[in-house]
């Protein structure tokens, strides 16, 4: 399935946000969004991915 993750187009087998994070080996402090909507950590199993979806995976970064 072709989706976009942090602006990069990729082909993945994951069908949920939780599976995607495992597939891409994300770990640590992160937050997720699907098609510009926040997906809470406890809801990633229920967040179903579809062709063309846009996923954002964010982490702590320097800020002013």
């Amino acid at each position: 399935m072709k989706i976009s993750v942090n602006g990069d187009h990729m082909d993945v087998v994951a069908t949920t946000m939780a599976e995607l994070l495992v597939e891409l080996a994300y770990d640590g402090k992160i937050a997720t969004a699907l098609n510009e909507e926040f997906v809470a950590a406890n809801n990633r199993d229920n967040a179903t991915l579809r062709e063309g979806d846009r996923v954002e995976i964010l982490a702590p970064m320097q800020g002013g």
Partner: protein, 256 residues
Amino acid sequence: MRRFYDTELANGLMLGTAQYPSPAILEAAFRASKAAVATVSLRREGRDGGGQPFWDIIRALGVYVLPNTAGCHNVKEAVTTAHMAREVFETDWIKLEVIGDTDSLQPDVFGLVEAARILCDDGFKVFPYCTEDLVVAEKLLGVGCRVLMPWGAPIGSGMGLNNEYGLRALRARFPDIPMVIDAGIGLPSHAARAMELGFDAVLLNTAVAKAGDPEQMAVAMAEAVIAGQRAAKATPMEPRDMASPSTPVIGQAFLS
């Protein structure tokens, strides 16, 4: 020290974490200044986990963390970012920025009030990055903000307090609201002036991070905040146009 929502801070220095020459210098500046609050952000994470070492440094500092919504230009973006920040940083504090003008990074105050309303209703403790506009301030308070963060000058400009009259008027209009001068501070004298005017804290980043010696500048800012705050508590004298001799005139010898 005034309470920010339910939290009493050890001092009035809030320091940003961006643009330092190295993580080690960032850490040294924080430790030397004893800043009470660190501002942080969220950005896209690579698969190499690049954001995690930064978070380890900030967590080890033991300071309060104030996540921002920097770079957000509309209500939806800012609200979504705030939700993501709350989960990652495990705090309901949010420095709410809704930018309206790309050149000056002036806040979109209409979007700001709307985003603040949504987030306050959702239990966030909102620190809104605003201007010195009295009406906007009143509306932010009306939707549930209990802290205001008016700018001193455009972000990163280092110009100091561009509209001191407006800031004084804001301080006087809402004497019981904790206020932070956010943005524009370039020198310790700017920070001291903000505190002399009765503001409760200053939030700065570039002035320290881009100094030749960030650690020394961080200490200078911390000392300026303390000096300004002490001066405000001490009730400064009223300035006057004409001279007034400080040495007693009575008893002066006739020697001419």
